[in-house]
């Protein structure tokens, strides 16, 4: 049996990813089990999902503690979440990271393949929803599932245009993912304090950051009302973002009627 753990953030589609993978592998004659871990459904909060792949019905109903493979959907997550915890020696990590695996701050007796899934998702979908790109990367790096089965399942899941867009993300990542590199010689980066679902400081969740143009702000308070994290305060008639509470969801930018808020990608 092969066990896989997916790490992501609420909204990146980790649960959908394991379900699609379970269906695609089933097409190839495997028995599968896709287990989501539900917590509070908070967009941006760290989430995990598991996948078991076996040759016959899988009886284990506990969680996966010693995965063979770890997939990381978010480029910054590994700074606060111990993504390699319990990973078997010689195990594979497939990570959304725009640089070579040796620069990801992950070390240990593992193999690491990277792909800029955020970049690919933005190109293909216009949104940083990285799950389908990471499925393409997973297929190539692990060799466990064919691109064809994934394509078929994906189109069943999203018929029409959405399916086509996701197909592009899937295929592009399949082509661009790096071959796995040995990271046993790399010093693992110091972790920041472990992130919890109820964390107050959510700045590490951001891929995009709201930037305020004070001249264009007319003080209408829309952003202040809609921000789900209460990260915006109104000071002397102008909006101001408290960046430690801002998770980068972009709702303020969507709601602002004057275009005073633009979302800029965070540097890695």
């Amino acid at each position: 049996m092969i066990e896989v753990r997916f790490h992501g953030r609420g909204g990146q589609g980790a649960v959908t990813a394991v379900r699609i993978l379970a269906s695609a592998l089933y097409l190839e004659g495997k028995y599968t089990q896709a287990i989501p871990m539900y917590g509070t459904e908070r967009r941006g909060a760290p989430v995990v999902a598991f996948l078991r792949i076996g040759e016959s019905r899988i009886n284990e109903r506990d969680l996966v503690h010693n995965p063979d493979i770890v997939v990381v959907l978010d480029p910054l997550l590994s700074r606060t979440v111990p993504v390699t915890e319990g990973l078997k020696e010689g195990g594979l990590i497939v990570m959304n990271f725009p640089k070579p695996g040796t620069e990801a701050g992950i070390g240990g007796r593992f193999m690491l393949a990277t792909v800029d899934a955020t970049g690919i998702a933005l190109e293909a979908l216009g949104r940083p929803i990285t799950n389908t790109a990471m499925l393409g990367a997973f297929a190539k790096a692990s060799g466990l599932v064919s691109l064809e089965s994934l394509e078929k399942t994906l189109l069943e899941h999203w018929p029409g245009r959405l399916g086509e867009m996701n197909l592009r993300a899937l295929r592009t990542a399949y082509e661009r993912v790096t071959p796995p590199v040995d990271v046993s010689g790399i010093q693992a980066q110091e972790k920041r304090p472990r992130e919890e679902i109820f964390s107050k400081d959510v700045s590490s969740w951001r891929i995009f950051k709201p930037q305020l143009d004070e001249d264009r702000c007319v003080g209408c308070r829309r952003c202040y009302i809609y921000c789900p994290e209460v990260a915006i305060s109104m000071i002397q008639g102008k909006a101001r973002v408290d960046y430690s509470s801002c998770k980068g969801c972009g709702i303020c930018g969507e709601e602002c009627p004057t275009g005073a808020i633009s979302m800029v990608q965070e540097a890695l």
Partner: protein
């Protein structure tokens, strides 16, 4: 021939209701409801399923509405979870008292918190419903179909719950075979109530009911008749399980309990639901190491298969019972019932009780291996004669 699909447990439950061609579905649509009724609502809206779907304002009404539909002669279904089931408690007595064969899916959720345990269903244990527990999504679908056949059998006529653990099954996706509609139709013919409470027929129906089910005579008689129906249900459950096997090639032990690798063992453990599933792996590992321990999966919690445990208990020296529940102030519920089933044996095995998985606490393969080792020690006469432990 059926077809296969990778689906979550909630969808498997919805398919059971659809394939059974339920005519009436009542549900409270908000938390703690699950996506079972969402799938069913879609099936009804798309015309795939011809049923009356009634959204109600609470679970008490959901149960009462299902009761009413069943009384009028419709095949009625509802689903709920955790605290929703607690709200149904009062009318559930009426459903069983009126001998209405409503079928209900229970997606376990603890009465303390969101994660699963069996406290929700155990709180209904004396409501007079048949209760069948499932360990995977295939079993949920299959048991759902069987539940109607059991409930509607003239020898039984009792409402029936089929249940599975929330999250662990309800939102986990795995391959499930969906039997063909033709086969299910042949296995489960349409429901024909012999005593529909319809205008004009109502009087006659009431008269028959009173006679047969003891209403309006000796005040205790209706209880006694219900208990007799529960006893009769044991045979019916076994029959339906075998007939299902003939049609679909799957069966669940003898319908009441399933013995897993119990040949030539000196002890066995007992578990319900998903813990029984995980326990299979533990048993496989231990038997590979030469340990002589098996698993008895308890599928029918009500009626409780005491005879089965008497038969099985006579073959071993120790039994370890895992309860995903507790009767506070007393103890593990299946532990006590099994223990009492063994009382009449000349030579009783030792029996140990374990509480595990309450409020969704994870039960790992290793936990069950440890339970097995303790049970094996008891079989060798080591350790205390009786023991209750929290895992």
């Amino acid at each position: 021939m059926g077809r296969w699909e990778v689906m979550v447990g909630n969808k498997a439950i919805a398919y059971a209701a659809k394939l059974a061609r339920v005519q009436f579905i009542s549900a409270y649509p908000i938390t703690p409801q699950t996506s079972v009724v969402e799938y069913l609502a879609e099936m009804v809206a798309s015309g795939e399923l011809d049923a009356e779907f009634v959204n109600v304002e609470g679970e008490l009404t959901a149960q009462t509405a299902a009761l009413g539909a069943s009384a009028a002669g419709a095949r009625a279904f509802t689903a709920t979870s955790g605290p929703g089931l607690l709200y149904m408690h009062h009318p559930m007595h009426a459903t069983s008292g009126g001998r209405f064969p409503v079928v209900m899916a229970v997606i376990h959720r603890s009465v303390k918190g969101m994660q699963p345990d069996h406290s929700d269903m155990m709180a209904q244990r004396d409501t007079g419903w048949i209760m069948l527990e499932c360990e995977n999504s295939q079993e949920l679908l299959d048991t759902g179909i069987m539940a109607f056949k059991i409930a509607e059998d003239e020898r039984v006529r009792l409402p029936t719950i089929f249940a599975g653990d929330g999250y662990i099954l309800s939102y986990t996706a795995e391959p499930v075979e969906i039997p063909s509609q033709e086969d299910v139709d042949a296995f489960l013919p349409p429901y024909r109530s012999s005593y529909p409470l319809l205008p004009g027929l109502a009087e006659e129906a009431r008269r028959v009911q009173m006679e047969q089910w003891g209403i309006g005579q000796d005040p205790q008689l209706r209880w006694r008749r219900q208990q007799e129906a529960m006893e009769a249900a044991k045979m019916v459950i076994m029959e339906v399980n075998e007939e299902f096997y003939k049609w679909f090639g799957r069966r669940y032990g003898n319908g009441l309990v399933e013995e897993y690798r119990c040949d030539d063992v000196e002890a066995f453990i007992v578990a319900m639901g998903t813990i029984a599933s995980t326990a299979r792996t533990a048993i496989d590992r231990l038997q590979a190491k030469g340990r002589r321990i098996g698993l008895v999966k308890l599928k029918s919690f009500r009626p409780f298969p005491s005879e089965e445990f008497r038969r099985l208990g006579a073959m071993v020296r120790a039994i370890g019972v895992i309860d995903r529940n507790i009767s506070l102030g007393s103890g593990g519920i299946t532990f006590q019932e099994i223990r009492s089933s063994l009382y009449d044996l000349e030579e009783r095995p030792r029996i140990l009780g374990f509480h595990a998985g309450l409020s969704g606490k994870e039960v790992r393969v290793g936990d069950i291996e440890m339970i097995c080792e303790k049970t094996l020690r008891a079989a060798k006469g080591e350790g205390p004669p009786s023991l209750v432990e929290w895992i």
